[in-house]
């Protein structure tokens, strides 16, 4: 039993390490691109101003009224309002989305690993993890 199991365990360990290495490389690339392009120099969309306006409104009742009367779903407004006292400068609120974006790279690698057809060699799963992670690292999400 152990005679046959040992090579299989070694192969599984190697494929797991390769998948993790690929996802970490994608994470590094994604971080470099997201920080290297200096998004913090600009505001990109009128929506950002509206989100800041709601997040920094002192009155919770007033903010609630604005959120209810707005076309967008409410959760993101409430997340920003909760984070605003910690963030200090409204521009720092973007850090939440930057972290989510980086975690998205890892999650895409995990999803690619799970979604690929299980195979004895393990290579489809490595390919799935790499593909998912690099696709999101290079995508605007």
């Amino acid at each position: 039993m152990t005679k046959h199991q040992a090579p299989h365990d070694t192969r599984a360990r190697i494929t797991t390490m390769l998948a993790v290495a690929g996802v970490l490389a994608a994470l590094g690339l994604g971080l470099a691109l997201r920080l290297g392009l200096r998004a913090d120099r600009w505001w990109f969309n009128a929506d950002e101003g509206f989100y800041i306006q709601v997040a920094t409104t002192p009155s919770a009742v007033e903010a609630s009224t604005v959120i209810r009367s707005n076309a967008h779903p409410p959760l993101h407004y409430w997340i920003l309002r909760l984070a605003e006292p910690v963030a200090g400068d409204p521009a720092n609120l973007r850090t939440i989305l930057l972290l989510a974006s980086l975690l998205g790279i890892v999650a895409a690698g995990w999803l690619g690993w799970l979604a690929a057809k299980p195979h004895a060699s393990g290579w489809p799963r490595v390919a799935g993890a790499w593909f998912g992670a690099f696709m999101v690292a290079l995508a605007p999400a």
Partner: protein, 183 residues
């Protein structure tokens, strides 16, 4: 034409991942939702069902575009019911797990979408004026557009991108076949 394709993956657009808009948070929630679903179907453990339920509801409350993911999952679920690839426990569990998201979608439709989007002047402005050119006006024009897109997809211009499609085919969950049943 090549630049249109490159534009979708252009590094310059990556800055959009770090703005205040909730898209990256929504994408993260959707990835966790789908991965949790796959883990649940493989292991049958309730904690993955809970993670699926929470992340799907979270995504639905963040952005309307996640409705498309929820609806696609619903279609796959109906297909799995017809194909009988799910056990009774899985069917009950998945329906219970998806219900908070379904209720949230219904509430959002009644409180936000219907009064503030469907009934708004902005929608009429968009469909009659600044988005009018984005839609096909009739079936003939739609078929011509699809034909044109297919022609472009198989042209020499996109030859170098075929590896991209092949990679999708290789790693996508369709390859899993009918092995969704709990072991």
């Amino acid at each position: 034409m090549v630049w249109r394709v490159h534009g979708g993956l252009g590094p310059g657009l990556i800055v959009q991942a770090a703005t205040l808009r909730p898209y990256s948070l929504c994408v993260l929630a959707e990835f966790i939702c789908l991965a949790s679903l796959l883990r649940y179907l493989d292991s049958g453990r309730a904690r993955w069902l809970l993670a699926f339920s929470l992340s799907l509801t979270f995504a639905v409350l963040l952005l309307y575009s996640s409705f498309l993911v929820a609806l696609a999952l619903g279609l796959v679920f109906v297909g799995a019911l017809f194909a009988r690839t799910l056990t009774r426990n899985q069917i009950v569990g998945l329906m219970a797990a998806a219900s908070p998201a379904a209720i949230s979608m219904l509430v959002l439709f009644l409180t936000h979408i219907r009064p503030q989007i469907l009934g708004s002047a902005m929608l009429h402005d968009a469909t009659d004026q600044w988005l009018r050119q984005q839609f096909a006006q009739d079936l003939l024009q739609a078929s011509q557009l699809i034909y044109g897109a297919a022609d472009h997809a198989y042209s020499a211009t996109l030859h170098g991108w075929r590896w991209y499609l092949r990679a999708w085919r290789w790693s996508w969950p369709c390859g899993r076949g009918a092995d969704f049943s709990a072991s």
